[in-house]
């Protein structure tokens, strides 16, 4: 279990996140939503051990995160960052391979290949990363994260997957397949924390939804309780948008009502 207890991060006098307590439970897909600047990425940085909170504590199974070596943390969780650009032409396989190396794989090349096919990039192994499209690059990075935690549970210790806007720059089909892969990871006993902007996707995939606003948790729990008109209106300033069908002349596409 990964626990953040009353964490606060301030930068130049402003509290980016304020007194947040959150638990990532094995088997759970936790989704963080909230408007721009709500503190979602900061919360993820604190939970992944990348940023030290000014007050409060983050612990991985009882061990404070600042006592963990980077190499130990790397075996317990992987992070998918937002768009990354590279100055050097690594191939897709070489990028994914770095994740497998961080995990300590005996045959990192093979693990990387598996991870690439899990994100639908079989056949893209030798493509130079800088020449790929934004969406393909995002999936290569997702493959790198998967190669770093190829199994959700190792020796009874669940691994965690942190995804910072994993669906940004992906088409609808790949948005679903990335989130389904993440959900499979959670179903297998791992922990998943994802930042999403699409409330429909959040509502479909989240076991536990956290709504951030101005650095504070304004609602958390199952989607049925957290995605309602009051909260969406107070956080996003859009009233009456939950659960109503748009005017008859506007077609709408809801991925959560797709055929399965």
């Amino acid at each position: 279990m990964i626990i953040a207890n009353k964490v606060t991060v301030s930068r130049s006098g402003r509290k980016l996140i304020d007194d947040i307590s959150i638990e990532l439970k094995p088997g759970n897909f936790t989704v963080v939503i909230g408007p721009n600047g709500a503190g979602k990425s900061t919360l993820m940085k604190v939970l992944s051990g990348e940023m030290q909170p000014d007050s409060g504590l983050v612990s991985y199974y009882g061990t404070s995160v600042d006592l963990c070596q980077p190499a130990d943390l790397a075996k317990r969780r992987a992070v998918l960052p937002q768009a990354t650009q590279l100055a050097f032409p690594f191939t897709a396989l070489e990028i994914a391979r770095m994740g497998a190396v961080a995990h300590g794989a005996l045959n990192p090349g093979e693990e990387a290949r598996k991870a690439l096919s899990r994100v639908g990039l079989r056949g893209f192994e030798s493509r130079p990363y800088p020449s790929m499209s934004g969406g393909e690059q995002q999936r290569v990075q997702f493959a790198r994260a998967l190669a770093q935690v190829p199994q959700a549970v190792v020796d009874d210790v669940p691994r965690a997957l942190f995804l910072d806007e994993p669906t940004a720059s992906l088409d609808l089909g790949h948005q679903i397949s990335v989130l389904e892969t993440a959900r499979d990871f959670a179903s297998a006993g791992g922990m998943v924390l994802a930042i999403l902007h699409d409330l429909n996707l959040a509502a479909e995939f989240a076991d536990h939804l956290v709504v951030l606003h101005h650095g504070r948790v304004v609602a958390e729990g199952a989607c049925r309780e957290t995605v309602n008109d009051d909260i969406i209106a107070s956080v996003y300033g859009i009233a009456g948008a939950v659960g109503r069908v748009p005017a008859a002349h506007i077609p709408y596409v809801l991925p959560q009502s797709r055929n399965r």
Binding site: A78, P89, F90, E94, Q148
Partner: protein, 356 residues
């Protein structure tokens, strides 16, 4: 592509093959460097000398080989390897293929410190010079290089990203500053020191002695020794500080080690041979084309390739205008500067990324 058989996208076997070819090239260039010169030493004589029976050599040839050629070849090997590896490491650290110790001012800083050592070694710094003995000049240059590398990193890097423009402008500013201080020191220097400075600033492997080889050996051995420990980290660092940390790399410690290594390689080579430009940019660039950007192969490849390149350049410098000797810096700049220009205007250079 003959290398594809081990699997698409995996350039491991390609890297091993290129390393092997570079090792062969290095052996060839060592022999070339021992062989050519105003007094040629026949290849057959050379081989029998190297395999342990030098009876066929005349006394004169033996003296030339042992007192002139061998130390010069050893020095060229160490300097070439040090320059190329420091270039490759710096490019990884700054995530920028244009970062070269010569271009961004590290060489100037090391040079200024070396001139300080030459001019002030008999005066203000005399006690230090006595204590450090043979290592005084290389150590001074090392600290000069360290100061500049650290300052560059502090100035030109914002949020873990280094802009090409900031890097190169910083290099110009540091070069100008170092030039100004060097001018001051030259005014203070006496005739003998002036000769030392002039000889040194041309950049040459002439005057190679076993003493010089031994004085830079510890620095180069240190830099080569850390290659296996930093290669994985530098690869991860290309994806950004945060991603490298996520993959278990102790980022701050890695950066400190690499900064010290760049300064050690660059400072010590500048101290014994002056500023020899462009080796640190040409060799890693060509190797990235041949084997990909992974530092697992790029760093050892740069060591082999840099040594070979410098030995070949030195052999050309010694023979092309014989009996006169061209400064080796001229040769390396002749093919290095065009590569640099190509990188600068290329799709990953200034022209594409930094202009608004």
């Amino acid at each position: 592509m003959p290398f594809r058989r081990t699997g698409e996208g995996d350039r491991t076997s390609q890297g091993v093959l290129v390393l092997f070819l570079l090792a062969v090239l290095l052996v060839f260039s060592c022999l070339l460097s021992l062989h050519v010169g105003p007094t040629g030493v026949g290849l057959r004589d050379l081989f029998s000398y190297l395999t342990g029976n030098g009876d066929s050599l005349t006394t004169q040839e033996r003296v030339i080989l042992e007192a002139v050629r061998l130390p010069r070849t050893a020095l060229g090997l160490l300097i070439g390897a040090g320059l190329a590896v420091s270039g490759a490491m710096m490019q990884g650290l700054f995530r920028n293929p244009l970062a070269d110790p010569g271009i961004v001012g590290v060489t100037s800083g090391a040079g200024l410190a070396a001139v300080c050592a030459i001019v002030l070694g008999g005066g203000v710094l005399a006690p230090v010079a006595v204590v450090l003995g043979n290592q005084f000049l290389p150590l001074m240059a090392f600290f000069g290089g360290l100061l500049v590398t650290w300052a560059l990193y502090a100035i030109a890097t914002r949020d873990g990203r280094t802009s090409t423009t900031a890097l190169i402008l910083c290099g110009i500013a540091i070069g100008a500053l170092a030039g100004a201080f060097m001018g001051l020191l030259i005014v203070m220097a006496d005739d003998r020191q002036l000769r030392d400075i002039t000889f040194w600033s041309l950049g040459s492997l002439g005057g190679a002695t076993y003493g010089r080889v031994l004085s830079i050996l510890p620095f180069i051995v240190f830099v080569m020794g850390i290659i296996p420990f930093v290669a994985k980290g530098l690869d991860a660092l290309i994806l950004g500080d945060a991603a490298a940390f996520h993959m278990g790399i102790p980022v701050q410690r890695l950066k400190k080690i690499v900064i010290v290594a760049v300064a050690a390689a660059c400072g010590s080579t500048v101290a014994v041979a002056g500023s020899i430009g462009f080796v640190g940019i040409v060799v890693p660039h060509l190797l990235r084309l041949a084997m990909g950007p992974s530092h697992r192969f790029l760093l050892p490849g740069s060591a082999l390739g840099g040594g070979a390149l410098l030995l070949i350049a030195d052999s050309v410098a010694r023979t092309v205008a014989a009996p006169a000797e061209l400064p080796i810096g001229v040769i390396t700049a002749l093919f290095g500067a065009p590569v640099f220009l190509f990188l600068l205007i290329g799709k990953n250079g200034i022209g594409a990324r930094d202009l608004p």
